[in-house]
């Protein structure tokens, strides 16, 4: 019997089969693209990390030789140290400064002005990251850049530095790029979180006399934990993976004072042609990011998850 209405259509076995196959067919394109461009290269990198492999040259199986070499590489611990410092620094500033700015904007009474400030803090997003790095390198940290000239004008000529070339200031100078870290999408995400706090909660807090700083810590922050979790994860992943900032600002120097594992991987792959070795570094970074993400999911609960548990 042929189906007569829309409900019956779904009961028809043939139709269900074709419908399911159609859905899989539509998904197949995405799965194939993901497999070819994401999963296969990752699998390839895992495999090649076991080879001594140069672009254009022969592969030679070395087992875990690349990993062993990396653990004996004198750049290993310093570079992980730098990565840890930069990531921790980025986590601290990205979890705090944009949240404070978002709270301030959210506290503005008139919508017109809130809108104005949202736009004001979002505009810097359109400036490409590379341009920002070059501005800091060439205009602010240069020998005759803004920072040194300002110090000279203040009569503090003895405080001037080659900020990016001096081993004692290079890493912290890199961390400070983007100061005061408030012109980004984080502000918008926190703002959305703050806007999502139900009016009933805000009113109850007001009635209980929970206002100002106390409300910020007791009500607002717990209510935007989902957003904090998202930013935390993105910052950690970006911190572990990222190297382009260092490449532009210092090329990892002076010495290896600002080298991070990602940058060393890049140099090994494309400058030294040691693809197998670079793949081994990439695999280790993957494992690290994967582990941190699992820990983050397991131990850092969002407000919704806390409510669900309760």
């Amino acid at each position: 019997m042929k189906p007569t209405d829309s409900t019956d259509i779904y009961r028809d076995r043939h139709y269900r089969l074709w419908f399911t196959l159609g859905c899989y067919g539509l998904l197949a394109a995405t799965v194939i693209l993901l497999t070819v461009f994401i999963y296969l290269p990752v699998a390839w990198a895992f495999t090649k990390s076991l080879y001594q492999f140069e672009i254009g040259g022969d592969s030679q199986f070395v087992g875990l030789g690349n990993y062993r070499e990396f653990f004996n590489d004198p750049t290993l611990w310093p570079s992980f140290g730098h990565m840890l410092f930069l990531t921790s620094f980025a986590v601290c500033v990205r979890l705090s400064m944009p949240l404070i700015v978002a709270k301030l904007i959210h506290s503005v009474r008139h919508e017109k002005w809130r809108y104005f400030y949202r736009i004001l803090f979002l505009v810097p997003i359109v400036v490409p990251g590379v341009a920002v790095q070059l501005i800091w390198q060439g205009l602010i940290y240069a020998d005759k850049g803004l920072l040194n000239e300002a110090l000279m004008a203040l009569g503090r000529g003895n405080w001037t530095h080659g900020w990016l070339s001096n081993p004692s200031t290079a890493l912290i100078s890199c961390a400070f790029v983007g100061f005061p870290w408030i012109g980004g999408f984080e502000v918008l995400i926190y703002y959305a979180g703050l806007s999502g706090i139900p009016d009933s909660v805000n009113e109850a807090a007001l009635l209980e006399g929970c206002v100002g700083i106390r409300k910020f810590f007791k009500i607002d922050i717990p209510m935007v934990l989902s957003q904090l979790k998202l930013i935390l994860m993105l910052t950690i992943i970006g911190g572990v993976q990222g190297f382009e900032g260092m490449l532009i600002l210092t090329k990892g120097g002076p010495g290896f004072e600002t080298t991070v594992p990602g940058l060393w991987m890049y140099y090994n792959a494309f400058s030294f042609q040691r693809m197998g070795y670079a793949c081994a570094i990439g695999v280790l970074l993957f494992v690290l990011i994967f582990g941190l993400t699992v820990l983050n999911f397991k131990y850092f609960k969002s407000s919704e998850e806390i409510q669900a548990i309760q």
């Binding site: 040259g57 004996n72 240069a142 070339s165 120097g253 002076p254 010495g255 290896f256 494309f270 400058s271």
Partner: protein, 537 residues
Amino acid sequence: MNARKIFKFVSLIVILAVGTWLLWPPSDEGETAGAAAAEAPGGPRAGVKYTIRFSPGNSYLPGMTPDGIGSPLKGLADVVADYEKLHPDTHIELVTAPVGVREYLVTQLISGMAPEIINVNVEDVWQDIQKNWYVKFNKLLDSPNPYVKPGEPGSVRWWDQIKYPGISRGTAAPDRNYYCICYDMVETGIYYNKNIFRKVGVEEPKDFEDFMRICQKIKDYTNEKGEHPYTPILLGQWTMADWCLDLFFDQFYAQITPGIDLSAGQDPERELYLKHYLDWDEISFLRKKGFFGKKDPRWREVFKVMYRFRQMANRNLTTIDPIREFVTQSGAMYWAASPFTYHLMVDKKLGFDWGIFYMPAFTQATSKYADGHPMCVIGGPGTQYEITNSAISDTGNPETSERLKRVGDFLYFLMAPQNYIKVVNETPRYLTNIIGVPVQPPLQPFDDFLKRDYSSSKWMFTFDLKFSETLLRMLDLYLNDGITLDEFIWWIETSLEQACQNIELRKPPDWAELQRSWDSKAPARAKMKDLPDEAYR
């Protein structure tokens, strides 16, 4: 659409048009002429069978104005035009490819898309010889240059045309094959400001200690305002890691090479120039015997003297603009390569006399390991042209490729004296490497420097790319007080160990042969002092 909207729309278009017109770059007669010169031979023509892409490098690229001073170059464009007139089926396309950027070069070579002729330092090529990315020059060099008149050098073998055969043969790769033609020569020297020297009361140094004394005197010189206006010598990061290291290394190791040069006499052609030269395999072997590490006192001495020398130079080795500092008379000396001569000659605003001397030798006063022999050569081949695998894209076989024959033919034409002089001697920057084409008089001092012995080894670029990078970085850090000498030596030793392992994986050296040679030199080493302990066993 109402009138107001139309007005807004039209106004925007007018503002855009006026803005574009105002911001349009002014036409530059010189630039256009230069561009036209570059384009002239490259224009598409009917009947072209071979298009040869040629990346000559900025030194000779038509339309380029060297150092931004003087007239744009046109010599090569004229030669290319002459060749195309002679061979209407061939089009030489002059391209500006960033072949110095390894990431670019590697991707182009692996895909067979690199220009047919490129200009890369041959040491970079050595890293890739096992990958068949480059065509050997051996056959071309042993064949006559058809553009040379009968009876003249080169009419029997191209080699005979070469003015510096020793240096040119020194470019043979470790597999003993040639992968480039040394188009011209370059050497470094210390340019100095004679006015400042007169004011301070110093003259060209006689030896290294004298040089240090002069530098100190310049550093201490005080003007009427009570300032110290002069930096004694202007140096860059690369100057220290590449030139300075090789020179100083030779000063301490040349006298012990009879005991450690393990491939001496194995390649008579290369030995013409590279006598006492330590190549990759030897460095790897000697490392196993304790050299180039904390147990090797000469190795420490090299870097101790470098540190001392560095104290006389500019504060920042990486971001300095030494040319500006020298021409504005902030620096009394500048260690640079011969092309800088051109800059000084054509800079009309230059308000001082200048001279050139070579780095003076170490004596016993500098170190107990010095013997006073003159500083070696660190220059040599300037522009080096290689033929890439793109040149054999027609058959994939160098023996049968017609395309490769045409590429080779063009290089012969380029090196014929009547054409060569138009290109190399267009400006006084590089020394000629063809018999019968004179060196320009301002470059004569460099021609004399090139007659010295060659360095005992080249540490940057040739050994291992990762090691080169580590050396460059850590030397910079050490010279700028970022780490101690002990820490620096540890870094380099560790990195060298890894580089040796890497070399062993890529191309295992013939350890047995090296050991035999090592053993045969034991009597010579027994007479030498302060070698690592393993050297005496």
